[in-house]
Amino acid sequence: MASTTSFLPALSSALDIPDTPDIERMRRETGARLRSAMADRGVDALILLGNNAVVYAAGVSWPLGDAGLSYVERPVAVVLADDPHPHLFLPFREGASSESGLPADHLHGPVYLEFDEGVENFARVIEELIPAAAVIAVDELTGAMRRAHSRLFRSGRPVDAAQVVGAAKLIKTPDEVSCIRTAVRITDTAMVDVQAALAPGIRQIDLSAQFTRRTFELGAMASMLEPIWQVMPKYKADGVWTTHGDLALPLLTTERELAAGDVLWTDVSITYQGYCSDFGRTWVVGEEPTPRQHAQYYKWQEIMDAVLGVARAGATVADLGRTATKANGGIKPWLPHFYLGHSIGVNAAETPMIGTDLGDEFDENFVLEPGMVMVLEPVVWEEGTGGYRSEEIIIITEGGHIRLTDYPYDPYGER
């Protein structure tokens, strides 16, 4: 096992983020975090099927495809508590093309866990790798795996691997932060061109087309989300029906032509080395914001400043939520089905989330630690303005935070 002396220290300023991620070191450090989370929960072996979990656990990345095809052609990872290297079962392209740097005896051919025959083949390998008495955690059970339950899980009912992987992912290593920062830079750079093209008559989908091509040219590995350019209603009553009576978000992109004065809430995410970016800004099409719209932005900035003022190691996520609500005059500045903010990594939205229906107790008990990455996305709404929403990504440090987002607030503000 790798010595801990080769690990990078926790980040305290942007200068500590490696310019280029060292993928081998990243895999070593995330692997150690994962096995530590396994030890905390008494788990001896992990069987991971979920694309994002495999990216995290095995340090491999590939351009993720649609879920429907990914269920049948997907890498599978097996992580053992006493082995620094994961076992990887790789299909033709997904992951196989990235130089995984794993020992040859840890690389296996594809497995097809959607089929009884595929599970039968997999079970034979698993029996060799995992002792019969081992406590196993798994993140997904296909129908065929459920039918072969007693063969795959010889010591009894498996534990939920989502808890184990989730715990390991909470704190990002400096190389993971470097990957996220590169993804953010690619996104921000591509967005400059997209925003410049924004004009009455352009279709929502044209913005998606331009954004996607530009990010790939700049080195993106994949788009994580169909790009969102939501035209906001002026009044809540003009918006689509929702279960909670508040605003809908995100609504899907169409071939709708944008008109002068349309207020757009944007949201996109791409990956670099398997790690996600996040981007959100509010734009007005072809016009300057009105004074009332400007005021929305200033209110948003006031909330963001207040939250950043308390965002540091030791604060709870409830502290951030309370601060945001107070700065917004006692009204929660986020939509009922979402959150004030969330973390980010191999998934575009990860734990912790701030202000969800997980409840106050969850938020009060969740303490921020150095190395956590948070996306803050307050929403400000005043009838008649189309509202204001933007996103800022920060890394929590001992003394405060480091900002990763570096994109202007045009046409609303300069900061």
Binding site: G68, P91, E99, D206, T212, L252
Partner: protein, 376 residues
């Protein structure tokens, strides 16, 4: 795509639901709890936000056989067909206990005896009995797969449209193929062209790669740049109206010594694969086609059903028994892959969409091939 988010058409929806309900009856399922996007779309007819990669299981759509009622995870009604009333929509939740509470309210949940799920996590395996206290939890994906494997007439129309968009993406990338361009830039061209055609949801983003001269399928170059003498594979795929349209081609960059022979081998292989796509034929005939052509079986499935994601049959060298049991039937649409490799030359990869009709195979893809360009 239109300028509004619309539910799938009535004929498409009802045709699929009838097939799903028939399979529920056949598999003796009182309730289906679906988490996979393809299944949710199949049953609900509602466009969903596209996110790359597999998703963890969560109850996203519930169908009750007795009433035919569909309950859907959706915080808004945009794109939701009018046969799913507002009271059947439940909002996004981050707390699984709230999700379970939503399921408990569904009429028929408390009395259901057999509940199928299309996948499961250990967490929901523990929680779902709270919502379905009298039910045995069983695999529901087999029932959904049986429903999905044969396409209705309207589904075939949707697939044809999706293939058209994928082919536009492929054509745009082939037009920009030149020495010095990167694989990623080519992928960007594919995705840009498909979005310009109205669809911003790819089925694959691994859209172009230089094939290796040294290894049957490994990555050719570390820098991802295309050079003269390369054979470059294109895999264009889109999710249009939920349906997967796919096409694959390989194009040479400049002169590629030995490629004419390789394209000829691909053509010979394809003739045999095409002949194997007969109604009533066992799916394993596709594996036999490779053997008869004297070609090594590639690492990927050489055929899989096309629809809302993957459908049966999936024909792979790793699943021979599965292929032996599967029979091709009219109404199946397959993505059939031909793959040939020559040391020192590279690989020719081609993927066609094939509809099995009562009279034989109909190839739905029509993108030009490089075979003509290299004089085959």
């Amino acid at each position: 795509m239109a300028t509004e988010v619309l539910a799938d058409g009535r004929a498409l929806r009802t045709g699929r639901r009838e097939r799903a309900l028939a399979q529920m009856e056949k598999h003796d399922l009182d309730v289906l709890v679906l988490g996979r996007q393809a299944n949710v779309r199949y049953v609900s007819g509602t466009p969903q936000l596209w996110v790359a990669g597999t998703r963890p299981f969560a109850p996203t759509c519930v169908i009750v056989r007795k009433t035919g009622a569909i309950h859907l995870l959706s915080t808004w009604d945009e794109g939701v067909p009018d046969d799913i009333p507002h009271e059947n929509l439940y909002g996004i939740s981050w707390n699984p206990m709230n999700t379970i509470a939503n399921l408990q309210r569904i009429e028929g949940a408390s009395t259901a005896k057999r509940v199928g799920t299309d996948a499961l996590s250990p967490g929901f395996a523990q929680l779902l009995p709270t919502a379905f206290p009298n039910a045995e939890l069983v695999d529901g994906e087999l029932a959904m797969r049986a429903a999905r494997r044969i396409k209705t007439t309207d589904e075939v129309l949707s697939l044809r449209e999706a293939i058209r968009v994928a082919e536009a993406g492929l054509a745009a990338a082939v037009a920009e193929l030149r020495s010095g361009i990167s694989e990623k830039a080519l992928a960007g061209v594919v995705l840009e062209a498909m979005a310009a055609g109205g669809v911003s949801t790819p089925s694959t983003q691994d859209a172009a790669w230089v094939t290796s001269r040294e290894h049957p399928w490994r990555r050719a170059s570390a820098d991802g740049l295309v050079r003269d003498g390369d054979l470059v594979a294109f895999s264009s795929g889109v999710l249009d109206g939920g349906y997967t349209g796919e096409v694959g081609r390989t194009w040479p960059v400049g002169e590629v010594n030995g490629s004419a022979d390789l394209y000829r081998r691909w053509d010979a292989l394809w003739d045999r694969l095409y002949e194997a796509c007969q109604p009533g034929a066992p799916a394993i005939d596709l594996l036999a086609a490779y053997q008869a052509a004297g070609e090594e079986l590639p690492p990927m499935p050489i055929a899989r059903g096309l629809g809302l994601g993957f459908d049966p049959p999936v024909v792979s060298q790793h699943l021979p028994a599965t292929a032996a049991e599967e029979q091709l039937e009219p109404g199946m649409v397959l993505a059939v892959t031909g793959y040939v490799w020559q040391s020192g030359v590279g690989a020719v990869f081609g993927r066609e969409a094939v509809l099995i009709t009562p009279d034989g195979p109909e190839v739905l893809t029509s993108s030009p091939s490089a075979n003509v360009a290299v004089g085959v």
